[in-house]
Symmetry: D2
Subunit: 366 residues, 4 copies
Amino acid sequence: MSNIWGMNLKVSIFGESHGECVGVVISNLPAGIRLDLEAIQAELNRRKPGKSALETPRKEDDAFKIMSGYFNEYTTGAPLAMIIENTNTKSKDYGDIKQMPRPGHADYTAYMKYKGFHDYRGGGHFSGRLTAGIVFAGAVAKQILSKLGISIGAVIESVGMVADERIDSLIVTEAQLEAWRTSAFPVVHPEKGAAMRQLIEDMRVDHNSVGGVIRCIGLNIPVGLGEPFFDSFESRLAYMLFSIPAVKGVAFGLGFDVAKLDGKQANDDFYMDGGLFKTKTNNAGGILGGITNGMPLDVQVAFKPTPSIGQEQQTVNVETLEEKTIAIEGRHDACIIPRAVPVVEAAMAITLLDLLLGEEKDVSWW
Amino acid sequence: MSNIWGMNLKVSIFGESHGECVGVVISNLPAGIRLDLEAIQAELNRRKPGKSALETPRKEDDAFKIMSGYFNEYTTGAPLAMIIENTNTKSKDYGDIKQMPRPGHADYTAYMKYKGFHDYRGGGHFSGRLTAGIVFAGAVAKQILSKLGISIGAVIESVGMVADERIDSLIVTEAQLEAWRTSAFPVVHPEKGAAMRQLIEDMRVDHNSVGGVIRCIGLNIPVGLGEPFFDSFESRLAYMLFSIPAVKGVAFGLGFDVAKLDGKQANDDFYMDGGLFKTKTNNAGGILGGITNGMPLDVQVAFKPTPSIGQEQQTVNVETLEEKTIAIEGRHDACIIPRAVPVVEAAMAITLLDLLLGEEKDVSWW
Amino acid sequence: MSNIWGMNLKVSIFGESHGECVGVVISNLPAGIRLDLEAIQAELNRRKPGKSALETPRKEDDAFKIMSGYFNEYTTGAPLAMIIENTNTKSKDYGDIKQMPRPGHADYTAYMKYKGFHDYRGGGHFSGRLTAGIVFAGAVAKQILSKLGISIGAVIESVGMVADERIDSLIVTEAQLEAWRTSAFPVVHPEKGAAMRQLIEDMRVDHNSVGGVIRCIGLNIPVGLGEPFFDSFESRLAYMLFSIPAVKGVAFGLGFDVAKLDGKQANDDFYMDGGLFKTKTNNAGGILGGITNGMPLDVQVAFKPTPSIGQEQQTVNVETLEEKTIAIEGRHDACIIPRAVPVVEAAMAITLLDLLLGEEKDVSWW
Amino acid sequence: MSNIWGMNLKVSIFGESHGECVGVVISNLPAGIRLDLEAIQAELNRRKPGKSALETPRKEDDAFKIMSGYFNEYTTGAPLAMIIENTNTKSKDYGDIKQMPRPGHADYTAYMKYKGFHDYRGGGHFSGRLTAGIVFAGAVAKQILSKLGISIGAVIESVGMVADERIDSLIVTEAQLEAWRTSAFPVVHPEKGAAMRQLIEDMRVDHNSVGGVIRCIGLNIPVGLGEPFFDSFESRLAYMLFSIPAVKGVAFGLGFDVAKLDGKQANDDFYMDGGLFKTKTNNAGGILGGITNGMPLDVQVAFKPTPSIGQEQQTVNVETLEEKTIAIEGRHDACIIPRAVPVVEAAMAITLLDLLLGEEKDVSWW
C-alpha cells in the first residue's frame, strides 16, 4: 500500500484508528517557515470528533507532536513529521468486523486485498481518522499560502435532500471564507443550516446516516498552476479529494450542470478590471486548460452517507460464506460533512502548495 | 510541463495539433503481448475527426506508426512509442489567437504560463488531438485486459438538456458494452440519441456548441485494485479523466445523487450469488474504500461545451490589454461528446492496467 | 528536502540526531509478512554506537517502536512506521557549529541550502544516525528475501592503507556471509582485521580518523532484476548507497580494475553447471545490461574518513566570514567502517526487495 | 521496462539499435529557451560512430528531428521530443544472437527477463546507440546551464593499463574544459593519448577490446544542489551514469583513494578567497553532505571493455542448453571510451539541470 501524495511537496500519512497513532510526514517543505502551532491545532480541532451532539461521542484530544523537521520555531527543510497518539481506543473485541464486512465499508475489499492481515479495528488504516494527517499538512500549507494572500474556505452546500443556495463564486470575499472557516457548521443561509442539522439529528435518532456536498473556494490564486497533460489542476486536486473516505464525486465550477449548457452560455468572457485580466463569469471554476486563470477556485465534493448505521443490514461472513444480518453499534457520525469541511480545505491547500513549489519564481534570467 | 501518467505503466504523450505529430510512449508494458494493430486503428478511428456532419470537417487519417518496442508482432518489453503525423494542418495565420485568447480555451492561461512561447496553432499541446495518444494506449490496454475477461464500454448519458435513461449497472452485459463500442453514437434509447443528434446539429447551425455527460462501465473487474491513501481507484481514474480537455466533473456510482440519500439507502448489502460475493445494489460504482469490489465499475464524466464557437464573444488582447470581440472561425466540433467516448474508455482501461501491473499475482510463497 | 527512495517499495526516513527521534516509514510492503522483531533489533544493534572502544562512546539503546502497519505479529499492508527515540543527546551549546562549518561535514552546504534554519545539533538530519532507519528497512527486507533463499553479507576490504585479500565472489558461501554478519569486525584474514583495528585505535589516540572500503555480496539472486535505462541494478543500488553519509565511490564486480583489462579477460564466459546457466568468472558482479544474471552480486563501497577529528583544522565563520581554526571535541567514531557494514547490507536488501516487488511473478496468463 | 529519469526534468528514451529510430522526450523544460540546433548536432556528432579508424565502421548521420515542443526557435514548455532515424542497419540474420548470448552482453539477461520477445538485433534497446538520446538531452541542458556560467568537460583518464596524469580539479579552467570538449580524444598529456590510441588499435587488430576511465569536471556550480537522503548529488549523478552501458564504477573527488587517507588529509579546509567561501583542496569533488559546495564537480567513471570481440568465447545456447563457442563478427568499437566522453558530460549536465529546476530561485518572499 502506498501512502504518498505530491509532485513537489510530498505528503505521506500512516497510522491506524486503533493502533498507536496517526501521523504524517511532509517533505520538500521550504526551510525557514515559521509555524503557528496554535493555528495548526485549531485546524485539527475543527476535524476532531466529539465536539457536538451531531458527532461521534468518541473524544480525542488530537494533540499533535512534531517529531522532526522543526527547530527553534521554524521549519528546517528536513522532513516535517507529526504524530497524534490514539488515546481513546475502546478495547472491545473487533473479531466480528473482520469476518462480517459492513456494507458500504472497506472491510470486504481490505480483507480480500490484504488477505485478512489488515488491522480491522475501527477501520484501521482506512479510517477517516487518517485525515488528521491531511488536515495537519493542510494547516501548514495554509500558513504558507496566506503569505501569498491566498485564502481558502469551504461551505456545506447540502445535507441529504436539504440544499442551500449556491452563491456566485465571484461575490465570495475573504471575510466570507474566514466566517466559514470559523463556523462549526458553515452555510450560506442559517435557516438552511438549521434544517440540515435537524436532518442529521433525525438520522442519528433513527440509527441512520446521511450524505452531503461540500463546496470549497480559493481566492487570490496565482495564474499558471497546473498543466494540460496529465497534471491539470483539476486532476491534481481530484486525485487528493478522491482519497478522502466517502467522496464519490468531484466537479469544478458549474460542475455537472455545465454539461447542460451551450458554449455561448458556458464560456467565460474576458474583460479588464482595473488593470487585471478577468472573466465576467466563473463557470470554469478558475481553471482553463488545466491551468489556474486567477479567478476563484471553485470545487464541489459529494460525500456518500456514513456507512456505519445501527439499522439491520445484509452481509456475508467472509470465512464461512454464510449470509448474515448486522447492526453496527458504536460511536459513529450520523453525517461526516461538518467534520469533512476542514479536510476538503486542506486538500485544496496542499494541492496549491504542491503546484506552487513546482513553479519557478522567476525565469527571466534563463 | 510534465507529460507522464501512471504508477506502474507509464503513459507519456507529446506533440501538437499543428506540429509534426502527436505521439505517445508507453513504458513498463510486459513483453510478449501480441498486438492486434487493426483493432488499435479501429479505436483511433472512433476518435478521429471528420467521420460525420456532426464533427469538425478536419479530416485526418490518424494512421499510427510504431517507432519502438514492437518486434515480430509482439511487445518487446522496451518502451512502445507511436506517432501519428499531422497531415491536414491548415497553414493559416494564427497570430490572432496568440494575442486574442478565446473564452473557455487555454489560450490565456497558456500564454501566461509559457510566457508566449507556446505553440498556439490550433491549441497546440492543449488540443484534444493529443488524446489520440491516450486512445492508442487505451487500445493496447484493452487488448491485455480482454485476456483477463475485462470489458469496458461507454454510453452517452446526456447532451445538453437531453438526457437518456440511466440504466442500472447491474444489468449491463458484455454484449451491451460491445454494442456501445461499435456504435458511432451509443445511447440507451435510440430516440434519445436522435434528439441529442438533432440538438448538436441545431447548435452547429447556430455557430454554437453543447456539452454532455458520458458514462463508462467496466465488467469482470478483479477485486482489490486501488488503495485507501492516496491511490484509491477513484483517485487514479479521476486523475486521468480530468486531463481530458473539457472534463469538469467526475463521479462514481450514483455520483452526486448519493449525497442526497441516507445510509440505509446508499449502502450496498452483501449477498452470495452462486459462490460469488456480490452486492445487491451497486451504488458505490464497484469501489469500496478506494478498492474495487468486483462489481461493475461505473463512472460519469461531465464535459463542458466545446469552447470554440462562431458567435461573438468578449476577449482582451493580452499584449495591448484592449477589450475586443471575436468570433471563432474554422473547423470545430459542435459537440465533442461522440468523439470523447473512446477517450473515456481508454482512461478506464489504462487505469485498470496500471493498477493490475502493481498487483502481485501470487504472494502465497512469501 | 525529499526523503523517499524506491520505485515499488517506498522507504522514507525522517528525524534528527538530537531531536525527538529518528524514524522510517516503509510503504508498499506486502501484507502477511511475519516479522521477527528480535532479528530486526539485532540488526540495529550491529549499527548502534558505543559497542566497543573503537566507536563513539555515545550510548544509545536504539530500541525501535513500531507505530503502524503491524498487527498480530504480521505486516498489514499499511505503511510500516517505526521510530527510535533519541535518549542520549547532550544538551551542550551547538552554536559554534552553526557558524563554524566543520571541514568535510555538511555544515556549510546545509547552512547555505537551508538558510541557517537547519537543525545543526550533531549533524541534525545529515547525521549518520539517520541510517538506523535504513538498517530497520533492510532488516525487514532481509526477512522477506530469506524466504526466497537470498543471502546478503558484507566484509571490510580495507581500512586506510591496510587492505585485506580480495576473495573471488564465486567461492563465497552462505555460511561465509553468515559468519560476516555475526562478526563485529568482519574480514577475510583475522590478522588483517587486527591490523585494521590497531590502525583505528592509533587514529583515535591521535584525534584523527580513517576511511575504508566495504564489499557486499548477495547470493541466490533471481535472474532478471533491473533494466537498461534508467533503472539498471547498478543505478538503483548506487542511488541508495551514495546517500549513506561518507560514501564517495561505488563499483561493481571488478570495479575500477575492469577498466584496465581487455575484453577477452573481462568477459565472463557462459557454461552449464548441473542444469544451471552460469558464468565461469564473475567480473561483472552479477549484472549484465543492468539486469541481474543470477551470479553473486558483488559491490564495493568506498567511505571517506570520518570528518570529525580533534586536530586543528581551518574554517571560516559563515556569518562574519572570518577565517578560524577549530578542533572538534565530542564523541566520534575514529572509523565508521565497522558500523557501516550493516548499512551497506541494508542498502542491497532494500534494492533487491524494491525490484522484486516490481517483477510480475508469472505472466504466462497474459 | 521503464525509460524515465529525473525528478524535475524528465528524460525518457526509447528506440532500438536496428528498429525505426532512437529518440528521447524531455519534459518539464522551461518555455522560452532558444535552442542552438547546430550546437546540439555537434554534440551528437561527438558520439556518432564511424568518425575514425578506432571506431565501429557503422556510419550513421545521427541527424535529429524535433517532433514537438519547439516552435519559432524556442522551447514551448511542452514536451520536447526528438527522433534519430536508423539508416545504416544491416539486414543480416540475427537469429544466432538470440539463442547464443554473447559473454559480457545483455543477451542472456534480456532473453530471460523479456522471455525471448526482446528485439535482439544489434543489442536492441540495450544498445549504446540509445545514448544518443542522452547526448541530445545533455546538449539542451548544457545550453541552459551555460547561461548560468556552468561549464562541463570530460577527459580520458586511462585506457586499459595506460593511465594519464591526474590533474588537480582546482587548476582546471573553463578553457581547459573547452579544449577537451573540442578534442576527439581528450587527454592531459598528448603522448599518453597517443599510447592509448595505439593500445586501442592493437586491440582492434587482435579482435579484442579494452576498457578505460573517464573523468568529468564541472565548473561554476551553484552551492546547494542535492540533498542528504536520498537525493544526494552523488546519488543522482551515479543513478544516471550507471545506466550508460558498460559503466561499472563511479567515484567522486579522490574516489576510492580517499578510503586510504586519514581525516586530516581528506578533509578540505575552508578559507576565504576574494570574498568567496572556498576549500583549499577538493578531495570531496565539490560535494559535502550530498550537496554541491561550489567547488569543481569531479567524478570518475569506469567502463569495462566493449564486450563484442572477434576472439572465440564460450557460451550456451539458451534453448538447447548446449555449450558452444562464438566469435562475434561485425562492426564494433575496440574501445568505447572516446565516444562515451560526451555521454558522461551529458549525464552531468542533465543531473545539474534536473536539480536546478527543483530549486526555488528566491524564497525571501515566503
